[in-house]
């Protein structure tokens, strides 16, 4: 599978190459003397992110999208796998080496209320990564803080205020300024706009896009909102119970999705109208995602898949190239008619 990707993306413009990443958590034992259980949070995930692009990860809660991001950021230990960032495998980095490498990859979290220390002023919060990484002189750091505030659209006076004096959207701007402070190459946005009101969400998305254009930033953008993902991402990976089930460039994904789970996600998010009704009737799955603790063999989606066959329950499908750049992990996708998404449906209000 990774060979397939090799052919289509020259390795030079790949910033991040994640290879067979596994993150398992212990989950007690089955019974008092039973075998130990494991949460298969991320179970063999591989993807590549090209420089200056946005890689979107979409999935429901428990799919492992945040765990993937945190493992890539080296915020939680990975069980196995390679994380090649800028040509070096940072999965092996420890201690001081890891600490200094962190200047190149930063993260913005979902909840800007809990991500900022309430006892410190905005200026100090933005300056903190510069202090910790020893970037520039004290005066240069102050200048950089002012410049960062301006870049994220906050006035210079904001530096003296405490987090509670800002609104949710402004706080997320602070988080972005802080992530930008050490001039990273990669920023992970983990549901960074999900907690914001729609009007504020648009402001933050536009800000992130502006910063990407100006600085050539690379994003990993995690969201459960397909509309936002389509708007913001160049490439999309769909995760389900610790596995990538489909991966494709955005335009391909939204015109010819191939995995039954992707069909379900799309039918749940389709704009209201006859197309949505038809999609929901035929493709929306029932129930909730099952538990990632000790998943059964076979396809993780088999339990909910409307098109399941015997083989799906026994044999785990691998992510294979169905088309240039389009990867799917499904035994049956070739045998089923995909949903007819028409020639570009219209959004509501148009």
């Amino acid at each position: 599978m990774s060979d397939g990707i090799n052919m289509v993306t020259p390795p030079t413009d790949v910033l991040l190459d994640v290879n067979d990443l596994v993150v398992h958590f212990p989950a007690g034992r089955r019974g008092l003397f039973g075998p130990p259980s494991k949460v298969h949070a991320v179970d063999g995930v591989s993807f590549r992110v090209r420089r200056g692009t946005t890689f979107g990860i979409v999935g429901e809660s428990g799919s492992g999208k945040s765990t993937t991001a945190q493992a890539v950021m080296r915020l939680i230990p990975s069980t196995s796998g390679q994380i090649v960032f800028g040509g070096e495998n940072i999965a092996d980095y420890r201690g001081e080496k890891l600490r200094l490498a962190r200047s190149k990859f930063q993260i913005v979290f979902q909840d800007p209320f809990s991500a900022l220390d309430p006892r410190r002023r905005a200026g100090e919060l933005i300056r903190e990564p510069l202090d910790l990484l020893g970037i520039g002189t004290s005066r240069e750091r102050d200048a950089r803080v002012r410049q960062l505030l301006a870049e994220v659209g906050l006035p210079p006076q904001a530096a003296d205020l405490f987090p509670h004096q800002f609104s949710g959207g402004q706080r997320q701007r602070l988080c972005i300024a802080r992530a930008m402070a050490p001039e990273p190459d990669l920023i992970v946005c983990d549901e960074a706009v999900s907690a914001l009101d729609v009007a504020i969400q648009a402001q933050i998305l536009n800000l992130l896009k502006k910063l990407q254009r100006e600085r050539g930033l690379t994003y990993i953008f995690i969201s459960h909102d397909l509309g936002v993902i389509q708007h913001f991402c160049d490439e999309i990976a769909v995760m389900y119970l610790g596995k990538i089930v489909e991966q494709a460039p955005a335009n391909l994904f939204f015109s010819a999705p191939m995995h039954p789970y992707s069909w379900s996600l799309i039918s749940a998010a389709a704009p209201p109208g006859p197309l949505r009704d038809r999609l929901k009737k035929n493709y929306l799955v029932k129930g909730d995602p099952p538990s990632p603790v000790d998943p059964p063999p076979g396809c993780r989606f088999a339990q909910r898949c409307p098109f399941v066959i015997e083989r799906c329950r026994a044999e785990l499908p691998s992510l294979e190239a169905q088309d240039v750049d389009h990867f799917v992990a499904c035994h049956i996708t070739a045998d089923i008619d995909p949903p007819d998404l028409g020639q570009g449906s219209t959004a509501i209000g148009e």
């Binding site: 009007a199 969400q201 648009a202 389709a270 704009p271």
Partner: protein, 330 residues
Amino acid sequence: MSPVLSVQNLTVTMKGSKGPVPVLENLSFDVAQGKTMALVGESGCGKSMTALAIMQLLPEDFRVTSGRIMLDGQDVLTSSPKELRSLRGNKMSMIFQEPMTALNPLYTVGDQIGEVLRQHRGLGRRDAHQQAIQFLKAVQIPAAEKRVDAYPHQLSGGMRQRVMIAMALACKPKLLIADEPTTALDVTVQAQIFDLLSELQDETDTAIVLITHDLGAVAELADDVAVLYAGRCIEQGAAEEIIAHARHPYTRGLMSCVPHLRLGKTDSHFAALEEIPGMVPPLGARGPDCAFRARCAFAAEVCRTQPQPPLDRVDASAAVSCWRHQEIAP
């Protein structure tokens, strides 16, 4: 036929250090049997306060200063605490955004649904338990006989919200208030819950007040919509009409700032999202002039010098509160 719920000129204020601060101003709407009214707006616009005023569950320091709330012919605002207790659950009930915090973690879901039936219907313990199973089946929870003895933490988020819906509908209320019922749920589960709500509404003819920021949900579920901004209703009418021809700049902004999913072959070139700059003015910082003026691209002299205009009926099914809605019509 008289509406199930009639809210007339509802005004809610909050106690402030310099006198009362308006939270909701002059809100009026009716919801008929079997119909769904959506309240839309950003946080801080008064959607949830409207719901809490109807349920008479306003927090301390908040009070209704004028207006009337009629539920099935009964004046909610003049009802005694005892009357209110029988209204809630029996005639009106509410489901909240976060089913985990709304359910009691120490009781099984069967006990919690049963409690409603024992309190309001006078059922015995065993009958209530049997009925609870029926309700769990009605909200499409698989293996209801087993799940009735489960505690909330043993259920997924989607199932908890189904339990909440079962509790809310247990006494066949005339009015159901759903405050962002799917915001905390996964997308595929959201779609299921919306489907469930409209199916149950078809069966029971309940009137629904749906509080949401999701205009997609409005288009799918609502018959009527009221768009709130800073405690004032700025546009109101039939949902289809408002979504097809939004007139107020705020409503238009709300619709265009959400990236809508485009399916099929489209050129997926990035275009900046339309923004509504700034944010909702906080309580106490709202003058008599149009509250949206500071964020409005169409603001003119009249918007500053005149108080916010009353809702102006623009055709049979829509009303808008904007001085310039005719000039700026798209």
